[in-house]
Each structure stands twice: as C-alpha cells, then as structure tokens.
Symmetry: C2
C-alpha cells in the first residue's frame, strides 16, 4: 500500500486497516490518524510508538491488559484475533506438549499475579523455548522495568503488523485481520 | 453489583464487564482497573473520566473516532454494539422518516469533514429532535470547543452505562453488552 494511499484513508478506513496494529486497541490507530500526513511506514510506526509513550502508566498497563495470554484461554477456545493466532502459531505455541502447556500456564498465572497484566512478547521474533525462558526471567523484574520492557514488545509487535499491512511481500504471506477498504 | 464485588474482579473480568463503558475502547476500562479499590460507583465513574482527561488531544479524538455515526452505517447494517443500539433506539433514531434520515446523514458528513471525528451525543438524554438541533448547532463550533464538548458527551454515556451495569434497577431494564462473569 503506497504511503499516498494510506494518507488518503478516512479515519473509518484507517481504523479498519490498522485498528489491530496494537492488539484490541483500535483507540490507538484512531488517535494516530491525527498525525497524518505520514511520510513513510517508519513515520506511521513512530506515530504509534509516540502515542503509546504519551499514555500514563495506567494506560500502558491497559494496553497490555488488552492482550491475550500466550497459549492461553483464547487460543484454546478459538477466540484469538487472526493476528495473534498467526504470531503464536509461528512461534510454535499452538503445538505445545502437555508439560510445556502446563508450564506456560503456571508461569502466566504467576506473572499476572505479580504485575497485574499479561506477559507480552513479540512471538514472531521468538520460539517457544526462548518465550518460556524469557517468561521465567521477566517474572523476577520489578514493576517499572517490566512495564517498560513489555511496552517495548507491544511496539515490536505493532511494527511487524504495520509492515505486513503496508508491505505484505516483505514478510511473506500476510495474515491481515482486515481486508483493505475499497478506495 | 456490590462495590466489593467490582473490586474483586480480575482485570479480565473487569474488561469483560466494563470494556464497552467507553464505546469500542476496552483500553480505557483496562487502564481504569489500575485505580482499584473503588469506594463507590461515583469513584469508578471518576476514574473513567480522569483517564479520558489524561489522554492527549489525539487520544481524545481517537476515543470519539471509535464511536459509530448516529443513525449511520452500523445501525443500517446491524453491526452496532448492543449498548449503542439500545441508546439510539431509545432516542428514536431507529425509526427515522426518509427526510430525517437524509438530513442526519448530510449533517453527520459535514460534521466529520469539519472535525475529523463523528458527532457524539448522549442519546439517552435526548430525542431525535434535540439531536438534530444540536448537530446543526455544534457544526458551527471551533475545533477545541467541540472536542471538549464531545468528550463531555462520552463521559455522560459512560456514566449511564456504568450505572446500568452496576445498579441496573436504577435505570429500568438494563441493556448490558456483557453477561457478568461467574465469580
């Protein structure tokens, strides 16, 4: 999608296309539309990052709380967003053994109890082994560092989703949630 | 729902119950969970209001852009949230004559073109006559005043939705989007 096309989108169209760049937070894309015109994909990506950074800590925690547990209830019940299913599948989280599934469930619960938000990691940049390893490690963080780290992961996920939506050929077959609107 | 019950909700349960208190912005409820424990419904309501106020202008515009047009495409296609359908129905917007429907469609378009977000008004506190009147009047506002006014309407809608969720008997039959979680 050419940047001129992105800049020509109405806010309804922009939210339809980019509404899940940050998982289940269409408010973020809807806010980013205010930053048009964009000069490049990187510029759009920056606008998403700047908006997330502008949120108070409670808002950053809110962004994290809109994410599903990795290999959690939404995966089991088939209610993941298409984006998240594709990402968790690529990382091998849809094909866990019983022991691995139990281990990640226990760690997810401990993590949520400790921090009050779910463990978020850019699954496309990890596999199930490194995810389990980082989940264990990050459980030992303090709250402020972990919030910063987790928001960094949200931005990584967002960057790859934007890239897949605007330049799908760069990442192989795209897994968009939304069909681009007719223009 | 007793305030002690609200305070006992996990963030997943809280977002399930209150996620649409601000239309299609579960991020707001997810952020407000950080403000527990709450002392009263008014305290929850204040937390939603304070969070919205904490957003930069682009975020406030983003909140507005997550709202549907009144008597617009989502109503016609049956894709409104249950909350919004109940509110628009109560205001008489589901039973407009052809001329009224055309008039509101034209004014909605002019409004969105002028401000970059849709016209938002607390439909439960208005009827179709006063809605059309205020839509015409607010079209003449400047951007800053209109953003403030529209966010005030978002808060009114939010307050009534919270009241209906926590104390449904105060408002007659409740129209919740979500079934309260099993506790």
């Amino acid at each position: 999608m050419d940047i001129a096309v992105v800049n020509s989108l109405s806010y309804e169209q922009f939210v339809e296309v980019f509404g899940n760049a940050v998982e289940k937070c269409p408010l973020v894309a809807a806010a980013v539309w205010s930053s048009r015109p964009f000069t490049s994909i990187a510029d759009i990506d920056d606008a998403f990052g700047h908006f997330i950074d502008s949120l108070p800590d409670s808002g950053k925690e809110g962004v994290l709380r809109c994410h599903p547990d990795l290999a959690g209830r939404d995966l089991q019940s088939g209610t993941l967003t298409a984006d998240s299913l594709a990402e968790q599948s690529q990382a091998g989280l849809t094909q866990l053994g019983v022991a691995e599934a139990e281990r990640i469930a226990v760690l997810n619960s401990q993590y949520k109890l400790r921090f009050g938000f779910p463990f978020v990691i850019c699954a496309r940049m990890n596999d199930k082994t490194s995810i389990l390893q980082q989940l264990s490690q990050r459980l030992a963080s303090d709250h402020a560092h972990e919030l910063t780290h987790a928001i960094g992961e949200v931005k990584r996920i967002c960057s790859l989703r934007l890239q897949a939506l605007v330049c799908p050929t760069h990442l192989g077959p795209a897994q968009p949630n939304h069909v681009p609107p007719r223009l």
